[in-house]
Amino acid sequence: MIGIIDYGVGNINAFINILKQIGVPYKKVSNESELVNVQKLILPGVGHFDYAMKRFQDSGMIDKINKMVLQQNTPVLGVCVGMQMMANNSDEGILPGLGWINAEVKKFDSTQLIGNEPLPLPHMGWNDITLEKFSPILTGLENNSHFYFLHSFYFVCHEDSDRIASANYGSNFTCVANHKNVFGVQFHPEKSHNYGIKLLKNFSELC
C-alpha cells in the first residue's frame, strides 16, 4: 500500500488517478493513525518551501514519517517541492529541510543566458533527462524520456553517489536523486503522461 501524504500541499488527486489506473493499492494519509499498513510513501509538494515545510510540520505526521523513512527504511518518493523538502535547507526559505538526503536547494541563476535572453523563471515545460547512473525507478526510461518541470529552485546533492539523473536549464542540475530508500524527482511524474506513469509504476514495484 502506497501512502500519499496529504498535508494540504500538492496534487494528491493526480497521484490517486494514476495509481488507480495502474491498479496499485493506495491511500491518502492525512494524520498519523492513517500511516498503518503503508509500505511506501509519496511526498508531493508545490509552492513556497517554508509554506510546505510548515504545513508538513503542522500535520502531526512528521515524527512518525521521519521514523518510517530513517529507521524503518520505508521507500519514499518526494516530488518537486516534496523532493526539495528532503534536503537540509533551501535558499527559498528559512526553515530547515528534512535532511533525508545530504543536499541543499538553490535558486536558478536568472542572469544566465538562454539563447540571447536571460533565463526566464520558473523553469516551466517539458524537458529531457539524462541518466547518470542506474536506478530502479528509471527502468524503461533510460532513453529519450521527458517530464514536466515547474520550479524556480533546484536540488544540489553533496554526495556524488546520490545523483541519479540531470536536466539542463541554463546549466545542468540534478533532477532525480536517491539516497538509500529516499528518492526525489524535481519534475512532476503525475503530470508527465506515460513517462510519469512508468516512473510511478517502477516506484510501486520497488522491493
Binding site: 493526480a14 509552492g47 513556497h48 516551466m124 506515460n194
Partner: protein, 258 residues
C-alpha cells in the same frame, strides 16, 4: 533541453465546448470532457480550459466540471473563469489543477495575484489578458469576453505583474481569435520588452507553421491554439487533433535547429 510548450486551449460556455471568432459567435463543439480525454490520450503538452460564462454570468467556477476534467489529465491543466478569491483558487488546486488563470480579477483586484502567489507559489498563478488593437495602432486590454475596455496602460500594468507575483502571462489576441491568419508578433514583442516572466500567446494560429514561426522568433514561449486543434479542413469539420511527438520533434528541428 527545454521544449517550447504547445498548448491546446479550450473554451467552455454553459457547460459545452465552444469556439469563437473575435470572441463572438460561439460555435458549439460538443462535450468538453471527451475532448479533454482525447487530448490527454494524444499526450498534449498542456491544456488550458477557460469558462467564458463563469465570469459573465457571475456563477463562479463549476467545481464538478473542473474535477472531472482534472481526473482525465495526465499533463498540466490550467483553469480560468470566474475565480475571484483565494478560497476558490485553493479549492480548484485541490481538485487536481496545476495552474489557475485570472483575468478581470487580476485587473480590478490585483492584490489577489499576490495573495494567491504567496499561498501556492507564483508558478501556479497565470494572468490572462485579452487584447484588441485600437484605432491608433496601439493595444487595449479588455475584460468580460472582449466587451469592457480597461482604462490602464497595458504595458505598465504588465510590468507590475511580475512584482505582484504572477508566474505566467497569457496574451490573448481578440482580433486574431479564430481567424487562423497567424500570431500577432508585434504585441508579443511589446510585452517582451517590458516583462521577462514566462509568456504564452494565443489567437491566430492557422497551422503548425505559425507555431513554428512564433517559437523561432521568441524561443522559450508557450504557443496556445484552439482552432487548429478542434477543426479540420476548409469546412472546419470538428475533429480533435494534435501533433504527434514525431511531428513536434520535426517542427522543433525545423524552426529551432534542435
Amino acid at each position: 533541453m527545454l521544449k517550447p510548450r504547445i498548448i491546446a486551449s479550450l473554451l467552455i460556455k454553459d457547460g459545452g465546448l465552444v469556439k469563437t471568432i473575435n470572441f463572438k459567435e460561439p460555435r458549439y463543439l460538443g462535450d468538453p470532457m471527451n475532448a479533454v480525454r482525447i487530448f490527454n490520450e494524444k499526450e498534449v503538452d498542456e491544456l488550458s480550459v477557460f469558462d467564458i460564462s463563469a465570469t459573465v454570468k457571475g456563477n463562479g467556477p463549476n467545481f464538478k466540471m473542473i474535477e472531472n476534467f482534472a481526473s482525465e489529465c495526465r499533463m498540466p491543466l490550467c483553469y480560468g473563469g470566474g475565480i475571484k478569491s483565494v478560497a476558490e483558487a485553493q479549492q480548484i488546486f485541490s481538485l487536481g489543477v496545476e495552474k489557475i488563470a485570472i483575468s478581470s480579477s487580476a485587473i480590478y483586484n490585483p492584490t489577489l495575484i499576490t495573495e494567491l502567489s504567496n499561498k501556492v507559489g507564483a508558478q501556479s498563478v497565470v494572468v490572462v489578458l485579452d487584447f484588441k488593437k485600437n484605432f491608433l495602432g496601439g493595444y487595449n486590454i479588455y475584460t468580460h469576453n472582449g466587451t469592457k475596455s480597461v482604462n490602464k496602460n497595458p504595458f505598465e500594468f504588465i510590468k507590475g505583474l511580475q512584482l505582484l507575483g504572477a508566474g505566467e502571462i497569457v496574451l490573448n489576441n481578440i482580433d486574431r481569435d479564430g481567424m487562423m491568419n497567424g500570431y500577432d508578433f508585434s504585441l508579443v514583442e511589446k510585452v517582451r520588452n517590458v516583462a521577462t516572466l514566462p509568456m504564452t500567446v494565443i489567437g491566430g494560429a492557422g497551422n503548425m507553421a505559425d507555431i513554428g514561426k512564433l517559437i523561432k522568433q521568441f524561443g522559450i514561449i508557450g504557443s496556445a491554439a484552439a482552432s487548429i486543434f478542434v477543426y479540420k479542413g476548409k469546412l472546419k469539420g470538428v475533429l480533435i487533433n494534435y501533433p504527434s511527438s514525431e511531428e513536434k520533434t520535426m517542427l522543433l528541428k525545423e524552426y529551432l535547429k534542435f
